[in-house]
């Protein structure tokens, strides 16, 4: 069979909305694109544990602490689902971690912003997880089987994340004047970084064309961003706090809100590594990895010894 036949089979599967599985033939660029996207998605889950981890020891109640611990543990689990999905494309866990720890691989730039108050934990659940869900619901129908299946699991778990965040926001927004101010301040700081999560505008998105062609993504960045804004406005109104955008206005003709774009120069700068917390996040990941080295070594040595004992017996 010639290569052209394999390509035709691949294209036919995409056209029929079928899934591509690890052992199927796939174009090298499809594989590369997925390795980049899925591994960076995994890194985002793992690095995303850090800003919230910052508040576990300072959660305002035992209930809040239990919830936050469960959420952060979920993010770790999501990272693991995604790493194994990426591994099925022929990249090793070690290679991916190496790329993260040396700064070669990217992760979502939202996690390079600091969590200054407890309201930030609410805003992250509400806005950041809300934006992530919007993206991930679309990715449940991604053409690569293992990625799609990881997304189905993640979406099931993620909705608790957004709800717990919104619950924190309601407590703060309907609390004391100081708490209400914190809620507004958190919205002010997280609004535009959340809009950035959907990636650059379609006209300037270098990876979008292939991702849509291969059905890795099913909707464009701008489309998802619009839907996120339309969904979030009513939630902010309920909280009686203001989205920090003077141009935000209902547009009857498009049945959606007009809104200001985020500052894309700031976005590029954070992606390049110059955000407020980039350095801190990478240091924390490297520290955890290096300080855990002895555990991996001990486990490997123990397994080896057990193997020797069982073959000797």
């Amino acid at each position: 069979m010639s290569t052209i036949d394999f390509e035709a089979i691949f294209e036919a599967k995409l056209a029929n909305n079928e899934f591509i599985e690890p052992k199927d033939w796939m174009p090298e660029n499809y594989r590369k694109h997925l390795i980049r996207q899925v591994s960076q998605h995994a890194h985002s889950e793992i690095v995303g544990m850090l800003p919230e981890g910052n508040w576990i020891s300072r959660a305002p109640s035992l209930r809040a602490k239990l919830v936050l611990l469960a959420k952060v543990q979920d993010e770790g689990g999501h990272g693991l689902y995604l790493y194994t999905a990426a591994e099925s494309l022929g990249v090793s866990r070690d290679e991916m971690l190496e790329a993260l720890h040396t700064g070669k691989a990217k992760y979502s730039s939202i996690f390079n912003y600091p969590t200054l108050t407890w309201a930030d934990i609410g805003a992250i659940g509400w806005l950041v997880d809300g934006a992530a869900i919007m993206n991930q619901v679309m990715l449940q129908r991604s053409s690569y089987g293992p990625y799609s299946r990881a997304m189905v699991r993640i979406c099931k778990e993620e909705s608790f994340h957004q709800r717990q965040g919104y619950e924190i926001m309601t407590r703060m927004a309907f609390g004391t004047p100081d708490q209400k101010e914190m809620a507004q301040d958190a919205l002010n700081r997280w609004w535009y970084p959340s809009l950035m999560m959907f990636g650059p505008p379609d006209a300037e998105s270098p990876n979008s064309e292939n991702a849509l062609k291969w059905r890795i993504k099913r909707e464009s960045n701008d489309h998802l961003r619009q839907r996120f804004v339309d969904q979030t406005v009513v939630q902010a109104e309920y909280l009686n706090i203001s989205i920090p955008d003077k141009n935000l206005k209902w547009n009857e003709s498009k049945k959606g809100y007009d809104f200001s774009p985020p500052n894309w120069e700031e976005f590029k700068n954070v992606v390049k590594g110059n955000g407020i917390c980039n350095k801190e996040r990478l240091e924390a990941r490297n520290k955890a990895h290096n300080e855990g080295a002895w555990v991996r070594e001990a486990a490997a040595a123990y397994a080896k010894k057990q193997n020797q004992l069982s073959t000797a017996a």
């Binding site: 052992k23 543990q73 866990r93 699991r153 778990e157 991996r296 490997a300 397994a303």
Partner: protein, 97 residues
């Protein structure tokens, strides 16, 4: 480069949702030994009571059919419609069969 020592070998995870139901594949984990594989599988795949029993199997022990075989390998089942109950005509009035 593809196999790593640092994370331990890969194990496939199967979950049984309820007693009496089949075990269904749900993903995989890295672990250095059986016990660790079982514990990691529990932590990663059953945080919300998704199952009451788990199997972990070394990935390298799995034998799989290859996608190129899809035609010839499964072909013998294609022309045997007499294996299905709807192939047969049963007269009215003999009750459920």
């Amino acid at each position: 480069m593809s196999m790593s020592d640092n994370q331990g070998p890969l194990w496939e995870v199967f979950v049984q949702k309820k007693s009496g139901q089949p075990y269904v594949h749900c993903g995989n984990v890295h672990a250095f030994d059986k016990e660790m594989a079982l514990q990691n599988a529990r932590d990663v795949y059953t945080r919300r009571n998704e199952g009451m029993s788990l199997w972990v199997v070394p990935s390298e022990a799995i034998v799989a059919s290859s996608p190129e075989d899809i035609g010839s390998f499964f072909e013998p089942a294609n022309d045997k419609i007499f294996r299905h109950p709807t192939f047969y005509q049963i007269p009215d009035g003999v009750g459920h069969m």
